[in-house]
């Protein structure tokens, strides 16, 4: 069996080197990345997600929202991310340290959501809930996240202003509420030291090297 042993060593090396380089290498660099404590604000960033938002992240994950929406803002001179109001700075690794399941996404059939809760054209929770019920833009309606029920006593404060038969109301399920809370909790604003844009003068200096 000529070359048998060397062949398998080669296969292992091929696999191991790429794994060590990309996965292990970045793990060593970023694995212990901690939230950034801001003295002047007296708290750490990114802030922890409220519990309901963490549940909403699971809804986002299992419905596969990431197949149409990214959650990564590219730097201002890269694409139109800033011009579209998705965020003033590029997303950095630290933005994601407290997320259980990171949903960077690979497709922008819909807009980026990394900074959804803090965008200048922010959508409030009621309108967002309505968007999920109606078809909004190219996004399908998610009617199964709502239930139609009989009004007993007073109308629910959460009921949508959608056309429901008299005596009935349409209310979001806990899953819909969690999803909305999650989307509202997404922010990408805090200025980490590493998130500052590169100064053009510094770029020139870099080129001289």
């Amino acid at each position: 069996m000529r070359n048998g042993f060397t062949f398998f060593v080669g296969l292992f090396l091929a696999l191991g080197l790429a794994w060590a380089g990309i996965v292990l290498g970045s793990h060593l660099q970023l694995g212990h990345l901690a939230p950034y404590f801001d003295e002047s604000e007296g708290k750490a960033f990114p802030e922890r997600m409220p519990g309901i938002a963490a549940r909403g992240q699971l809804v986002y994950q299992d419905l596969g929202c990431a197949s149409c929406h990214t959650q990564q803002v590219r730097r201002p001179d890269f694409g139109s991310d800033k011009a579209r109001g998705w965020g003033d700075r590029q997303s950095v690794a630290r933005d994601y340290v407290s997320q259980v399941q990171v949903q960077l996404g690979e497709s922008r059939i819909g807009p980026d959501l990394a900074n959804f809760g803090a965008r200048p054209q922010a959508v409030d929770a009621d309108r967002l809930t309505q968007y999920l019920y109606d078809q909004h833009g190219g996004m399908p309606a998610y009617r199964f996240l709502f239930e139609t029920r009989k009004v007993t006593g007073e109308r629910s404060a959460k009921a949508l202003r959608a056309a429901a038969p008299a005596g009935w109301e349409i209310v979001p399920t806990p899953r819909a509420e969690a999803l909305v809370a999650y989307l509202q909790s997404l922010t990408n604003v805090y200025e980490y030291p590493e998130a500052r844009p590169v100064v053009p003068a510094a770029t020139k200096e870099g080129e001289h090297k």
Binding site: L30, S40, Q90, V92, A93, E191, V198, T203
Partner: protein, 221 residues
């Protein structure tokens, strides 16, 4: 076995047996870039292409890897991005934020105060004058009568801001320095900045103490 047979897609015949396929390629193994007098261009061209790719890869890697820094997200960043200590926030920006969220409640966003109740900061001799006095007022507070710009304020009650006993704000020295720097550069004031080190020095010198009064402060340089 003639080549003129139409090929039946239902049953494609092999052009070579497995055994001969293996044997033929076994003979082809080995390096034959220059096979005797049979000089061949293709291997050289391929090798050249491979070296070219490696060369390009090296250049690109060298130019855009930012020395494998974990905190450089822009490939054009200078190599030391984020590697050193965290970049300080501009004190004027931080100071403005602090002033507007806390100080402006009494001294007003214009720095003019409220006549008879809250003394002004704009053009105040206390702001533009001695560092020693100004820092002490913010660190430990001020109680009792005070005279600003010739006007007497009967019962001043500047709260304690520093990280000292009895403080309701517990502002860090950096935060106090930034706020004072902002105040000294705004509302028409043009006094030099105050550093966090100056604040730290006074705080360590004085330790924990009660609010200052005007008389005590005026004894200081």
């Amino acid at each position: 076995m003639s080549d003129q047979d139409p090929i039946d897609p239902r049953l494609e015949q092999a052009g070579a047996s497995d055994e001969s396929l293996l044997t033929a390629h076994e003979k082809l193994r080995g390096w034959k870039a220059d096979d005797g007098a049979n000089y061949r261009m293709l291997p050289l061209v391929l090798l050249f292409a491979f070296s070219g790719l490696i060369f390009y890869a090296g250049i690109y890697l060298n130019k855009y890897s930012v020395r494998y820094s974990p905190s450089a997200f822009d490939e054009n960043a200078p190599a030391n991005t984020g590697a050193g200590p965290a970049v300080k926030v501009d004190p004027l920006v931080l100071g403005k934020k602090n002033f507007e969220s806390v100080c402006a409640t009494c001294h007003q966003a214009t720095g003019l105060g409220v006549p008879g109740i809250y003394p002004p900061l704009a053009g105040s001799e206390w702001v533009s004058g001695s560092n020693e006095r100004l820092i002490r007022i913010v660190l430990y507070g001020l109680k009792g009568p005070v005279k600003v710009k010739g006007v007497e304020y009967g019962a001043a009650a500047m709260p304690v801001f520093g990280k000292v006993a009895g403080s309701g704000y517990n502002w860090s020295d950096e935060k106090i320095a930034a706020t004072l720097t902002y105040v000294r550069a705004s509302f028409g004031n043009t006094s030099p900045a105050i550093t966090a080190d100056q604040v730290t020095a006074i705080r360590t010198k004085e330790g924990d103490r009660k609010e200052w009064s005007q008389e005590e402060l005026l004894k200081l340089p």
